[in-house]
């Protein structure tokens, strides 16, 4: 421990030496043979790392390559080039037998659960343990623990056909955790579930992450999933990562067009149709300029619009907006209209407060 950091008192001491990430992809490419035999690049030069105990969300449209990407982590797919290091081992270079062994420390859950219909909940959870050669008594103890962890102790003898979607995914999670993995891969695990069930599954994953310190890598096409549990996010498009970083930063200051389009549907970012339909690029005489303001961190809850009116006598028209919390930090977006003549003054004023501004256009 570094003695100079002692004054932090009871706060956890930050390690100054960067810790080796538990999952690291180095210049990973995946090239498939296309229909006509010509090579198709599914993933190109992916660099990605996940710290132990973190939750990384990978978001992309269907066909962006996220499925292939997550399957590289447990070796279900082999990269055409590059290295995939999980817990110190190069997954892509392991012989079959060691790879199977390594997979016991990488759990995986699936969109369609992939439970055996011929086995009960308890028997499904027991399967990875049977495969790993645990004895009967150890299997029973572990299965009981896992059923309790996911809240399904009373459903142990039910077949998947007798369970709801959310319950099936809980069985899936318990099965993935059976061999005490260090990493959990989630392949669109909530995409087949309704919003309320999605919420409860995400809560369970967040709890497992917090309590067991399990690293989670998830892929999704829903920004809401990333917002609710991920700490890091990577946006993938056309087989390449176009943006990555802290969820709060990416959500509040999206740099890439694809990220913006994912965020477009988020509450407060979408313009109401009556504004959107009238929006034009050129200023209109006597019209208003439409500005999007992003609030982050300390200023998120400041009454800036009131001050704008008081200090500069500029009256802003609120067109859309929301205040929210991302990764535990407050943030918000509002879209306002101000008279064209006051545009420069307004932007200067807002920038003073450290707010992000974006002129969306003009309306009459």
């Amino acid at each position: 421990m570094n003695a100079s950091l002692g004054y932090l008192g009871d706060q956890p001491v930050r390690r100054l030496v960067p810790v080796e990430p538990i999952v690291r992809l180095e210049k990973v490419s995946k090239i498939f043979a296309g229909r006509d035999g010509s090579p198709v690049t599914a993933l190109g030069e992916i660099d990605l790392s996940v710290q132990q105990g973190s939750i990384l969300g990978i978001i992309g449209r269907s066909g962006a390559g996220k499925s292939t990407l997550i399957r590289l982590v447990n070796g279900l797919e082999k990269p055409s080039s590059g290295r995939v290091i999980v817990d110190g081992a190069d997954i892509a270079a392991l012989p079959e037998k060691s790879l199977r062994h390594a997979r016991r420390s990488i759990g995986m859950i699936f969109q369609h659960f992939n439970l055996l219909s011929s086995r009960t909940a308890a028997q499904n959870i027991a399967l990875p343990l049977e495969v790993a050669g645990y004895d009967k008594a150890a299997i029973k103890t572990r299965v009981d623990e896992l059923l309790a962890l996911v809240g399904l102790s009373d459903k142990r003898n039910r077949y998947p056909s007798e369970l709801s979607g959310g319950q099936k995914q809980r069985v899936g999670i318990a099965r993935a955790l059976a061999t005490k993995p260090k990493v959990l891969l989630s392949d669109e695990a909530t995409s087949a579930l309704d919003p309320e069930t999605t919420r409860s599954i995400l809560d369970l994953l967040a709890r497992i992450n917090a309590e067991l310190g399990l690293t989670i890598v998830l892929i999704t096409h829903e920004m809401a999933v990333i917002r609710s549990i991920a700490r890091e996010v990577a946006v993938i498009e056309g087989g390449r990562i176009v943006e990555q970083g802290d969820v709060f930063d990416v959500f509040t200051r999206p740099q890439h067009e694809v990220t913006r389009s994912f965020l477009a549907d988020e509450a407060g970012r979408a313009l109401p149709p009556y504004v959107a339909s009238r929006l034009q690029a050129e200023p209109v005489a006597g019209g208003q300029a439409v500005i999007r303001i992003g609030f982050r961190g300390p200023h998120a809850t400041d009454p800036v619009l009131a001050r704008l009116a008081r200090d500069l006598s500029i009256e802003a028209n609120i067109l859309a907006g929301s205040v929210d919390e991302i990764a535990g930090r407050p943030c918000g977006t509002i879209v306002i209209g101000v008279p064209v003549a006051s545009l420069t003054a307004t932007l200067n004023f807002l920038t003073q407060y450290g707010l992000d501004t974006e002129v969306l256009g003009h309306v009459a």
Binding site: N74, L76, R100, H101, A102, R103, R104, I106, G107, M108, F110, H112, N114, L115, L116, S117, S118, R119, L127, P128, E130, V131, A132, Y159, P160, S161, E162, R175, A176, A178, T179, L185
Partner: protein
């Protein structure tokens, strides 16, 4: 119907059941691994061996497209080698098994191909070996389909076993031809057909019930 006729029918029914049971058993014994292999040896599959798969597939198709009565005659030397004779119930088991094996293999292959690929992926993801995937995932999940397939195979074997009667194989077919046809005893012919119908119905309903019991995909009230 005379007691003598009843005794004949009972004895022939016993022979038919014996031939069908033994050949179904042997056919499953050979057909199960063959079917599993056919279902898992395609390109990119668990035991990927596309060439062997293609060759075995062609052999299976050839065996299946040979009319049974021709198969019986064609493999007489092989039957003699195995059973020591080409006449009688035991000898009949040889061509019945030879016909049943590729048929059962195809039925098992298709039952296994019905299993959701996602289950194989899940099993690979938690570190199962190909053999574990076959034994713990594919076969248990395909069991309802396998039960229905085997039922179909047994019903077909009942039909085939009547055919081996034509070449001295014994059983109900033999009885029907020798008494019903050659000795002009229509009541014997009718009795044989009735027994065969009852047998087939029985096998089918037992098989259906078994498949339903094994199928956990449907909720049972």
């Amino acid at each position: 119907m005379s007691p003598e006729m009843i005794r004949l029918i009972a004895a022939s029914t016993g022979e038919t059941l014996y031939m069908v049971a033994v050949s179904a058993l042997l056919g499953t014994l050979f057909g199960l691994p063959l079917g599993v292999f056919l279902a898992t040896s395609g390109k990119g599959e668990l035991y990927a061996a596309p060439w062997v798969n293609r060759v075995l597939g062609a052999v299976v198709n050839a065996a299946r497209s040979t009319p049974f009565i021709i198969l019986v005659v064609a493999i007489i030397p092989f039957t003699r080698l195995i059973a020591g004779t080409s006449i009688g119930t035991n000898a009949a088991i040889v061509p019945l098994t030879v016909a049943a094996t590729p048929f059962i293999a195809r039925l098992i292959e298709s039952a296994i191909r019905e299993v959701d690929q996602g289950l194989i992926e899940a099993a690979r993801a938690f570190g199962a070996t190909p053999l574990q995937i076959v034994l713990k995932v594919l076969i248990p999940e395909a069991l309802p389909g396998i039960a229905l397939g085997l039922t179909l195979a047994v019903v077909s074997l009942i039909g085939y076993s009547a055919m081996v009667g034509a070449v001295g194989g014994g059983g109900l077919g033999d009885l029907g031809i020798r008494y019903g046809y050659q000795r002009f005893m229509p009541d014997m012919m009718i009795a044989v057909v009735v027994v065969l119908i009852v047998l087939v119905q029985l096998v089918q309903s037992i098989g259906d019930r078994l498949a339903r019991r094994l199928n956990k995909r449907i909720r049972h009230a």
